[in-house]
C-alpha cells in the first residue's frame, strides 16, 4: 500500500472508530444511538438553513486549522491560535465601528487589521524563540490569556462605555451576504468562506512552490543544515509564526465581520483556536486535509445542536465523539500498525 493511501486511510479509520466508540457510549448511557446520529445528520444537512450554518462554522475552522498546520509544517507548535484569533476579532471590529468609509476600502481594511493583529500576536513568540530560544508553546499559551483579558478590557473601556459588548460594525465593513442568506433561509452564512479557501490555496502555494516555503520547511526539519545552506534561520522562524498568526487573525475576522458583526466580553476562550489544532492534526497538516477536516468538525458542531431537540441526547456527547476522533488520530500509530498487519496477511 502506498504512503499516500495510508495517509488518507488513517484519518478516515480514526473518524469511524470515534463514531463507533461514541455509539457504544450512547447505548451504554441508555440513549438511542440510531436516533442520535439521525438527529446529528439532520442537524447538519437536513435543511438548507443548517447546511448554511455548517459552512459558516467551517470558515473559521479552516483558517484556525491552516494557522496550526502552517506552523507545524515549519517545525513550530502554535498553541496561540486562540489568542491570535481573539485579537484579530477585536481589531476587525474596532476598524468596523470606528471608520466611515466606502465598502471597497472599509471591508479590506478591517480584514487586514485582523490579519495584522494576529500576525503581531504571533510575532512576539516567534521573536522570543528565534532570539532567545524560548519555547513557543509556553509563550503562545501565555499570550492566549493576555489576549483574552486585554481584549475584554478594550471592549469595556474603548469600544463601549462599561458595556458588555461593542456596537455593531458598519455595513461597509460587513462580510454578510444577503445572497447567501436568501439561498439558505437566513442562516448566517457569509462571504468569508471564499477567504478561507483562498488562504488554503495560498498556504499550499507558499509551502510547496516558493523558495520561501522551501526555506521554512527546511528550517523546521533541520536548523543546522539550513544554517549551513545559507538560510537565515532566525528570520525564517519569525516569518513562519507571523504567517501562522495571519491565518489565525483572519479566523477572528470571520467571526467579527461575518458571523456576529460585533465583539463581546468573553468569560473564556472561544475554543475555535484550540479546535484548529485538532483540525490540523486530522487533516495531516496539509491544505486540502485541513479543509476536509474543518468541514467534518463544522458539521459535527452544528449538527450536535439538533441532538437534544430531536433525540433527547445531550450535545456534550458530540464533544466526546470529537475528542475520541482526535484520540484515534493522535494514536494513529496503532492504526498504521494495524493496516500494515492486514496488508501483510493479504499478500501471504
Amino acid at each position: 500500500m502506498s504512503n499516500r493511501t495510508k495517509n488518507i486511510l488513517v484519518p478516515v479509520i480514526a473518524v469511524l472508530l470515534g463514531i463507533l466508540v461514541g455509539t457504544i457510549i450512547m447505548v451504554a448511557s441508555g440513549y438511542d444511538a440510531a436516533a442520535g446520529y439521525t438527529a446529528l445528520w439532520n442537524g447538519a444537512f437536513g435543511d438548507v438553513y443548517f447546511t448554511g450554518e455548517v459552512i459558516r462554522q467551517v470558515t473559521p475552522y479552516i483558517l484556525a486549522g491552516l494557522a496550526v498546520a502552517f506552523a507545524f509544517r515549519t517545525g513550530l507548535f502554535n498553541i496561540g491560535v486562540e489568542g491570535q484569533l481573539i485579537v484579530g476579532w477585536l481589531a476587525a471590529v474596532w476598524v468596523g465601528v470606528s471608520f466611515d468609509l466606502p465598502k471597497v476600502i472599509h471591508l479590506p481594511l478591517a480584514i487586514l487589521a485582523a490579519a495584522a493583529a494576529g500576525a503581531l500576536w504571533a510575532f512576539i513568540p516567534g521573536y522570543l524563540k528565534a532570539k532567545f530560544r524560548v519555547h513557543e508553546v509556553i509563550v503562545t499559551i501565555m499570550m492566549n490569556y493576555v489576549a483574552l483579558h486585554v481584549t475584554n478590557n478594550v471592549i469595556r473601556t474603548v469600544l463601549s462605555e462599561g458595556k458588555e459588548r461593542s456596537e455593531n460594525i458598519a455595513d461597509t465593513a460587513s462580510l454578510r451576504s444577503p445572497f447567501f442568506e436568501g439561498l439558505t433561509e437566513y442562516s448566517r452564512l457569509h462571504w468569508g468562506i471564499f477567504i478561507a479557501v483562498i488562504c488554503a490555496i495560498l498556504m499550499w502555494f507558499i509551502l510547496e512552490k516558493t523558495t520561501k516555503g522551501f526555506e521554512l520547511r527546511a528550517v523546521g526539519f533541520n536548523e543546522h543544515a539550513s544554517q549551513y545552506a545559507g538560510m537565515n534561520v532566525k528570520n525564517n522562524i519569525i516569518l513562519s509564526m507571523v504567517i501562522s498568526g495571519t491565518f489565525a487573525g483572519l479566523a477572528g475576522a470571520m467571526e467579527g465581520l461575518g458571523t456576529f458583526g460585533y465583539t463581546a466580553i468573553k468569560s473564556g476562550f472561544t475554543g475555535v483556536g484550540f479546535d484548529g489544532i485538532a483540525v490540523a492534526l486530522l487533516g495531516g497538516n496539509t491544505a486540502i486535509g485541513v479543509v476536509l477536516a474543518a468541514f467534518l468538525f463544522g458539521s459535527l458542531k452544528v449538527g450536535a445542536l439538533n441532538m437534544p431537540l430531536e433525540a433527547g441526547i445531550p450535545n456534550e456527547l458530540v464533544d466526546i465523539i470529537i475528542a475520541l476522533i482526535i484520540f484515534f488520530v493522535a494514536s494513529s500509530y496503532i492504526i498504521r500498525w494495524f493496516i500494515q498487519r492486514m496488508s501483510k496477511k493479504g499478500v501471504k
Binding site: A218, N222, Y228
Partner: protein
C-alpha cells in the same frame, strides 16, 4: 571442529529488495570471525536475523548443532547470543550497574538489590579485563567505557557468542587497542565472537576467519592467515582496489585561502583556536592532522561562517570573509563537506533531489522570482546522481533512506559541482567502505588538478598521508608544524599531534 553458530542459506527480503540472498555463515567455537562487506551489503540484516529481530524467508539457523527458531531477541539471549550495538543502548542518567541489570534486576523483597548486582558486575569485569567503575553514571564516562558497559551487559546475561557491530567506528586509536585486548581475553575465556566491520586492518590483526558478503550475496569464507588486505578488499568490492591514491605532483600557485591570527571560542566559551595561521594555495591539498578536540571543529565552523570568530582574518582570494553569513561565504567560492552529514549536510526529510540544490535553490534556473522550478531542480539532481554514482531508487527518495556512503557521495557531488575556489572536506570518508573512500579521494585530487584549493581535515592518519600535498599539524588550537607527507612518518606525526615536539616544530614552521 564444532560450530557454535551455523546460519545456512539465509534469505531475507524487504518488499521486493533482497537484503540477504543465500548466505551461509559458520562460526567455530573460540574464534573471532569477521563479517566483512561494504555499507549496505547486508551485514546488519544477517546479524539481525541471528538476533531474532528479523525472520528469514529461507534458511536454517543452528546453535551448537541444534536447529533453532529465533523469533525474538529474548530467545537469542537464552541461546547465549549477545549483541554489542554500534549505537549504544544505554540510559544516560543511570549508573553502569543499573544499565547492566536493566531488564533482569536482582531483587530483595521487591527492592532492587544494587549491592549484590555491583558485586557481580565487578566480578565479571575483573574476569574479562573490562575495567569500569560500576557506580559511575553513563553520562560521565567516555565512549570507550560505554562500549565496555555494553559488553558487560551481554556477559551478565550469560552470552557465549558475542556479536560486535562496527565496534571501532566510534573509538579513538588508543581505545581500539584496548578493545582488541578485550576481544582476545574474551576468546581466552571461551567465548566466540562475530565482528561486523569493513576495516581490513582490524580483521588482519585480530580475526581468525572472515566471511565476505557483497550486495546481499555470500562470497565465501577465508582464513585470515591465508589472505591479505588487497585480496579481502577486492572480494568485498568485486574489483581491484588501490589503497595508495595515485596522484601526480602538485602544482601549487597563489594563495586561495589565507588564515591569519584566527581566534575562536567553543560553545562553552573556552578558547579553542588560538591565533591560528594557515594558507592553502590553488592546486594543492592541505591536510590538517590532529587528535580530535584540538580546535578542528571550531576552525572549520569559523571559516564557513557557522560560528563567530573572536578575532583574526580569513581571506578567500584576497577578499575578507571572516564572520560573514554562510551564504555570503558560499557565494565567495567556498564549498564545505561537513563533518556531520546528518546534522549539517542534509535535510534528511527532503528528497535527495532537493538536497542537491540546498545552497542554490534561490538562483536561476532552480527558481524564478521566488517560485521553485522543480523540473530544473530534478533534472540537475538526476545528472549529479548519475555522475557521482549515488545509489538511490530515484531522485524523489528521502535523503534519510540512503546509506551513509551514498549520502556522502550526494553531498560531495553537490559541493564539487558548484566548482568552488576552495573546498573544505571535514572527515569526508568517516564510516565509509573502501570503495567509497577510493571514489572520494579521487574526486578531491581531481579538484586539485583543476587548479582549485582543498583543505582536508581528518582523524585518519592514513588518509592525511595519502591525499595531502602538505600536512599541517594542529595542537591546542594552533598549527604547530607543517610537514611534507613524503618526508614524514606516522611516528613523527603522532608525536607532533601529541604536542611533544611542539617547540622545535614551531621553529620549523617559521623557516
Amino acid at each position: 571442529m564444532e560450530y557454535v553458530i551455523e546460519m545456512l542459506n539465509i534469505r531475507k527480503e524487504f518488499s521486493g529488495f533482497v537484503a540477504n540472498d543465500n548466505i551461509t555463515l559458520q562460526v567455530k567455537k573460540g574464534e573471532i570471525h569477521a563479517l566483512l562487506g561494504e555499507n549496505g551489503a547486508g551485514k546488519s540484516t544477517l546479524m539481525n536475523v541471528l538476533f531474532g529481530l528479523y525472520q528469514p524467508e529461507q534458511g536454517e539457523i543452528k546453535v551448537k548443532g541444534k536447529p533453532v527458531n529465533i523469533t525474538n531477541p529474548n530467545i537469542a539471549n537464552d541461546l547465549g547470543i549477545g549483541m554489542v550495538h554500534q549505537h549504544f543502548m544505554l540510559v544516560d542518567t543511570f549508573s553502569v550497574t543499573e544499565n547492566i541489570i536493566l531488564g533482569m534486576e536482582t531483587t530483595k523483597g521487591g527492592v532492587i538489590d544494587i549491592r549484590t548486582a555491583e558485586e557481580e558486575v565487578r566480578k565479571i569485569s575483573e574476569r574479562y579485563g573490562l575495567a569500569v567503575d560500576p557506580q559511575a553514571k553513563i553520562s560521565d564516562i567516555s565512549v570507550g567505557m560505554q562500549q565496555r558497559v555494553e559488553i558487560l551487559k551481554t556477559l551478565y546475561r550469560g552470552a557465549e557468542i558475542l556479536i560486535f557491530d562496527e565496534p571501532t567506528a566510534v573509538l579513538t586509536p588508543q581505545e581500539i587497542k584496548e578493545l582488541i585486548q578485550i576481544l582476545r581475553t574474551l576468546i581466552k575465556e571461551g567465548k566466540s565472537i562475530i565482528l561486523i566491520t569493513h576495516k581490513l586492518k582490524e580483521i588482519m590483526e585480530v580475526c581468525d576467519r572472515v566471511t565476505v558478503i557483497r550486495k546481499g550475496k555470500g562470497i565465501g569464507t577465508v582464513n585470515v592467515s591465508e589472505t591479505n588486505p588487497n585480496e579481502l578488499a577486492s572480494l568485498m568490492v568485486g574489483r581491484d582496489v588501490v589503497f595508495t591514491t595515485d596522484k601526480s605532483e602538485a602544482n601549487p600557485a597563489g594563495d586561495v585561502l589565507k588564515i591569519k591570527g584566527l581566534a575562536v571560542k567553543d560553545s562553552r566559551g573556552v578558547q579553542a583556536v588560538r591565533g591560528l595561521d594557515l594558507s592553502v594555495r590553488a592546486g594543492e591539498i592541505v591536510g590538517i592532522a590532529g587528535v580530535d578536540g584540538n580546535g578542528q571543529t571550531e576552525l572549520i565552523e569559523a571559516i564557513t561562517g557557522l560560528r563567530k570568530a573572536e578575532s583574526g582574518s580569513v581571506k578567500i582570494k584576497g577578499k575578507e570573509i571572516l564572520n560573514l553569513t554562510p551564504r555570503k561565504i558560499t557565494e565567495s567560492g567556498l564549498a564545505h563537506i561537513p563533518q556531520d552529514r546528518h546534522k549539517h549536510g542534509l535535510v534528511l526529510n527532503y528528497p535527495i533531489g532537493e538536497n542537491m540544490v540546498l545552497q542554490t535553490y534561490y538562483k536561476s534556473p532552480f527558481s524564478k522570482s521566488g517560485v521553485m522550478n522543480f523540473k530544473n531542480i530534478y533534472d540537475k539532481a538526476r545528472k549529479l546522481i548519475k555522475e557521482y554514482d549515488v545509489r538511490t531508487p530515484n531522485e524523489f527518495t528521502p535523503a534519510r533512506a540512503l546509506s551513509g556512503g551514498n549520502q556522502q557521495k550526494a553531498i560531495i557531488g553537490r559541493e564539487v559541482d558548484r566548482d568552488p575556489e576552495i573546498l573544505i572536506a571535514a572527515q569526508p570518508t568517516r564510516g565509509l567502505d573502501v570503495g567509497a573512500i577510493e571514489f572520494i579521494h579521487k574526486r578531491l585530487i581531481e579538484q586539485r588538478d583543476k587548479g582549485k584549493a582543498v583543505l582536508l581535515i581528518s582523524f585518519e592518519l592514513d588518509e592525511i598521508m595519502n591525499v595531502s600535498d602538505r600536512i599541517a599539524v594542529i595542537y591546542e588550537g594552533e598549527i604547530v608544524a607543517i610537514v611534507n607527507p613524503k618526508e614524514t612518518t606516522e611516528q613523527e606525526l603522532g608525536l607532533l599531534m601529541a604536542g611533544s615536539k611542539r617547540k622545535e616544530a614551531g621553529e620549523e614552521t617559521n623557516v
